[in-house]
């Protein structure tokens, strides 16, 4: 729905907006290599993301404490620099006295992990269906696009809640749901690109040389979808992370005691007025990450978008 699911509409538009230029750019493989100027904001974003991924992977080594270890007498301790804070808990503790820093680090693992895997699911599913739809056209295309329309038309969060009720909670269900929630964006964009690619000379040439459908799709069409997929994936990663946070807000996301930024944010929101750090810290982490991903994604799109390049 609008605050969680209209995102698709928005992303679609950016997808279609980029899809047309891409169709032109897809004169593939012949594109010249150019030296790329990276703006400072992008450098900062990239460094941030690299550090974040590193910290998430190394969480078991660098986290000062077990993220699930409770200490009820030290609950709701503020970060060290705030009055009443202590160095034992550099970023404070949550409402059960668990170390916030450790939870943020392990939470990064969970949130980014879910984000990446779900995005991959959406990417693979959407790309396959989109390529098939665009390549074969006809009834298959029609059915796939019908399914995409149907899914876009319903508030996915409602479907997700019902699915959680049906299939249970847990990270696997969450990942699959988050993945499925975004396939349409990839499918639509890929389909549009394939529709234009399949009429290109190099495809016709391959065909006339006797290449099978599978070969044409794999060898000639798929490689040309790389950049558009990459761009949509950055958009989708943001959407998936927010999706996890929204489900966690409704209590259906990652289950305790495992931390994820979304669930920390959702469960800590009651404390915004009394112990702000419980939700503000994961909130800030989440926003910074999404911001960095968006900036890099936008930059990638501009970089790969020939109209802007020429402009």
């Amino acid at each position: 729905m609008s605050d969680t699911i209209t995102e698709p509409t928005e992303t679609i538009t950016s997808a279609t907006a980029t899809a047309t230029p891409f169709a032109d750019a897809a004169e593939p493989r012949t594109a010249k290599r150019r030296t790329v100027h990276i703006p400072p904001a992008i450098v900062v974003s990239m460094v941030f993301l690299v550090l974040l991924v590193g910290a998430a992977i190394l969480a078991p080594a660098i986290a000062p404490a077990d993220p699930t270890k409770q200490s009820l007498i030290s609950r709701n301790r503020p970060p060290a620099w705030v009055e009443r804070g202590t160095a034992a808990y550099p970023l404070g503790t949550d409402n059960l006295g668990r170390d916030m820093l450790s939870r943020l680090l392990y939470g990064a693992q969970v949130s980014l992990g879910i984000g990446v895997v779900a995005t991959l699911i959406g990417t693979v599913m959407g790309t396959v269906l989109g390529v098939v739809a665009g390549f074969f056209k006809g009834p298959l295309d029609w059915v796939i696009m019908l399914a995409a329309d149907a899914q876009l038309a319903v508030p996915f969060i409602v479907i997700a809640i019902a699915s959680v009720a049906a299939f249970g909670k847990g990270i696997p269900v969450l990942v699959v749901l988050a993945g499925i929630s975004g396939w349409m964006l990839f499918a639509r964009a890929c389909r549009a690109t394939v529709l234009s690619l399949r009429e290109r000379e190099f495809v016709h040439a391959a065909r006339s040389l006797g290449a099978t459908d599978a070969r044409v799709m794999l060898r000639h069409i798929l490689p040309n979808l790389g950049s558009i997929i990459l761009v949509i994936a950055t958009i989708d990663l943001r959407r998936v992370i927010l999706f996890e946070a929204s489900l966690s807000f409704l209590g259906l996301g990652v289950q305790p005691p495992q931390p994820s930024w979304g669930s920390m944010l959702g469960q800590g929101r009651e404390y915004l007025g009394t112990a702000w750090w419980i939700s503000v810290l994961p909130g800030v982490a989440l926003m910074l990450t999404i911001l960095a991903v968006s900036l890099v994604g936008d930059w990638l799109r501009d970089l790969l978008d020939p109209t802007l390049r020429n402009g």
Partner: protein, 308 residues
């Protein structure tokens, strides 16, 4: 190439198929998710009573039969009675629509006005620090989970400043915070889209020609560029409106706004099947309807669309 008539017929068929798919998917997912009977009877009701009620509700029949019956009644416009409220499910959904529509329209007006202003402004100063700042701002807007932003707004404007009411629906003042919260994402996407489509247009030859002819920049933007950039914007704005009209679960929950989104979520958690089905179908119908209108107007304005 098809005629407009053919195009419309095809779209209508497609719209109905889409809705059928939605109804079917929701029916089966709900079917797996559990039985409302346990929630209907008191905890210590004897098994015979449970069975009797299941039979009364038709839940003891094979799934396919239940599905067929359900589809039949939906076609007749009968969505059944809410299990929880014991009122016709569809009228419950209709009761909520004004609230959702009010919030959606307010958020839409806000986001279109602000989004276009920021987008045009940024496009005209492309590459400048102000442009970057504007784009950074939209990125930040898109990065925050709505419930987080909503609660921060409540804490600041209701608790700290005491300017605005925190929740509920009634006065115009109560509309402000939820509308602002909800408009964030749409505003950001409209700003970005208007910027990029304006830039696309500004690069065209006829603009260069106009410039070469010495037409003033303001006139170029007003007369040539905006008009041409409008088409994709209208499409997207239409889709966004469709999205907003389908309710906003999270925003409605945070601000206790009595809209369709919250109705649907509450209904899922209480396994109030008829209401879930009625609300999801209603939402889908609104979305598909708006989409259909956008498609049609687009097709009328740009014949190429029909070809694809």
């Amino acid at each position: 190439m098809q005629s407009v008539g053919q195009f419309v017929v095809q779209r209508v068929v497609r719209a109905f198929l889409t809705l059928w798919l939605v109804v079917t998917a929701v029916f089966f997912i709900l079917h797996v998710s559990g039985d409302p009977v346990a929630l209907l009877l008191s905890e210590s009701a004897p098994p015979e009573q449970i069975e009797a009620l299941r039979a009364q509700l038709g839940l003891d029949q094979p799934v396919v039969v239940q599905y067929g019956k359900y589809l039949g009644s939906v076609v007749r416009g009968d969505f059944g009675k809410s299990i929880r409220q014991r009122q016709p499910a569809f009228s419950l959904v209709l009761d909520r629509f004004p609230a959702t529509a009010q919030l959606a329209l307010a958020a839409f007006a806000l986001s279109t006005a602000a989004g276009l202003a920021v987008g045009i402004f940024a496009a005209l100063r492309r590459g400048s620090p102000l442009d970057r700042l504007a784009m950074l701002f939209t990125s930040i807007l898109q990065s925050g989970p709505p419930f987080f932003i909503g609660i921060l707004l409540i804490l600041f404007f209701s608790v700290q400043l005491g300017w605005l009411p925190s929740s509920g629906r009634g006065t115009l003042k109560q509309l402000i915070l939820p509308a602002v919260t909800l408009s964030g994402l749409t505003m950001a996407s409209l700003a970005r889209l208007s910027r990029s489509s304006l830039l696309d247009v500004l690069r065209n030859d006829y603009i260069r020609t106009a410039r070469a002819k010495g037409v003033r920049e303001g006139e170029i933007v007003r007369v040539h560029a905006l008009r041409n950039a409008a088409l994709p914007l209208i499409t997207v704005a239409g889709l966004e409106l469709g999205g907003l009209l389908t309710g906003a679960v999270i925003t409605e929950t945070v601000f206790a706004w009595p809209g369709i989104g919250r109705l649907a979520v509450d209904a899922v958690s209480t396994r109030d099947y008829p209401v879930v089905q009625a609300s999801v179908l209603f939402i889908a119908a609104v979305f598909v309807g708006v989409n259909f209108l956008v498609d049609c107007s687009y097709a009328l304005l740009d014949p190429r669309v029909r070809g694809v």
